[in-house]
């Protein structure tokens, strides 16, 4: 697995997988989880990122999601776009055209 970059003060969101379904989810502003990155709460500095991750980890302990982590995003447009191609694939689904849509 490609190493997650060390995040500094850049736009970032928290992602995880839903425990029951395994679906990719993003932490929202109201501390719930959404399958759409458009709903993600975007923060832009290390402290806010850590605070967001703390909320997510508490929810992982409550068995709502699995293994939350922070990812950098380009927030200059909507929806925010992950920087790493791994996260782009997680957000958009497999890139192989022959597969059915979700």
């Amino acid at each position: 697995m490609a190493k997650a970059p060390k995040l500094d003060s850049q736009p970032q969101v928290v992602t995880a997988n839903d425990l029951k379904s395994g679906d990719v989810v993003y932490l929202t502003k109201v501390a719930s989880w959404s399958r759409r990155i458009a709903d993600a709460s975007v923060v832009a500095n290390v402290e806010a990122g850590a605070a967001l991750l703390a909320i997510a980890e508490a929810q992982a302990k409550m068995n709502i999601v699995v293994a939350p982590y922070l990812i950098p995003v380009d927030a200059s447009s909507m929806p925010p776009k992950p920087i790493q191609y791994r996260e782009v694939i997680r957000a958009d689904g497999p890139t192989t055209e022959t597969r059915p849509a979700a």
Partner: protein, 552 residues
Amino acid sequence: MYQYDQIDQTLVDERVAQFRDQVARRLSGEISEDEFKPLRLQNGLYLQLHAYMLRIAIPYGTLSARQLRGLAQIGCKYDRGWGHFTTRQNLQYNWIRLEDTADALADLAKIQMHAIQTSGNCIRNTTTDQFAGAAYDEIEDPRVWCEIIRQWSTFHPEFSFLPRKFKIAVTGSPNDRAAVRVHDIGLRMHKNATGETGFEVIVGGGLGRTPFIGKTIRDFLPRQDLLSYLEAILRVYNQFGRRDNIYKARIKILVHEIGIDTMREKVEEEFTATKDGALKLPQEAIDQIAAQFAPPAFEKLGGVAAEYANAFRTDFEFGLWARRNTFKHKQPGYSIVTISLKKEGEAPGDAKAEQMTAVADLAERYSFGEIRVTHEQNLVLPHVKQADLPALFRALKAYDLATPNVGLASDIIACPGLDYCALANARSIPVAQQIALRFKNWERAHDIGELKIKISGCINACGHHHVGHIGILGVDKAGEEFYQITLGGSADDQAAIGDLIGPSLNVRDTVEAIDTLVEAYLRLRKSSDERFLDTYRRVGLAPFKEAVYAVA
């Protein structure tokens, strides 16, 4: 084919009940993810990029029509109507919900299938020749031994927490189609001077980060001693295999570090102490298992069937397909048919539920209800009457299953890669798709002839890139997908690890480079009989390297 008796069925049912309880404990929060993860992995359940993935064991790649039909139904009920056949002769569902897993496993148990030991540091599903029980060149049906190993290794109390995963492959033919030299243990059946059948035992082969060709630890092992000898190897490995570094934990590193001679001494010492114990196989027990693999009721056929000869003459497409996708059967008048899951532009190894159901129906009509899965991610109908080949071809064509490319450049092995896999560094499937489309022209593809291209999305080498005539390995280079190309690998009886050709390339240049390599081969080959691999072995890396990097 092997049928579960009441003992097998009870054990699989009990396993489902056990896992149902474990999932319930996880969903209720009684156990944490850390505690649950090893339990779900022992039942083949991974958490991948987009969803849970469930890996189903297909013991030694053998399926009945009923089982394949069941897999299609389970794929529709719990997945998105697909299944993915893997390089380990297994099947993966890519879109499984944790909540549904126990029900899916219960449905599998009804067709005598399971996901036991398809992950984790234990003895995995034993693999073998996809033509077992059918091939003309076979000494003995290796599936008998695979089944004996399956039973011995299932829920093994001593070997469920090994330093690392453990894979065993068996070939019953001198022409190795099971890649036995690149497994933790490879077993090659052969006859000794007195005509007795036994095993050459090969240990410490493997791909991954540090590829090794296995070494022979014993030239000839009598059949009745198979399990004692396997247990001796596993016991030495369990105690002395490295556990300090996950990348050095496979048995290949132990064999490499202590040397094959020391390894042999330790194993033989253990074997000497146990060989006449409870694991010794009585002939009657071997016979009982072997009876379950008795050949089907073949008809006695002579000469070439008229339908077959006619179709060859009159139907060009059929001839192309029959030449490429059939293999010589031991029974006169029968052929082995490989069904390509590699239509150019499709994801290698993927099958739609309708396709699986169609193959199940055709197996019932034409192949005694038997299907095999190949480690090259294709399906096989092992026992088809030659007279039926034209009808089978037409039926397969209707389901897009008659691509005449077995062993050709577009018959690419590819792991799921970063489109699905949480471990991957780069995508494999789109690269395979783009390369395959370059070889869609049948004239060119057949002119090039046998060419095995294998693609892995990370160093774990699920796509067997090290042993591809052309191997492609995805890497992450400063946040971009890049690919390393190796040449000259081979997984057959003259197994070899490929040589790195040069600096890695991006996706576009990689696809271009494969084309360039093939063009270079066509220029360099002595005749159209000389395969890509043979030319490479004759001329070496330099002219190929020059061709790729002079252009790039």
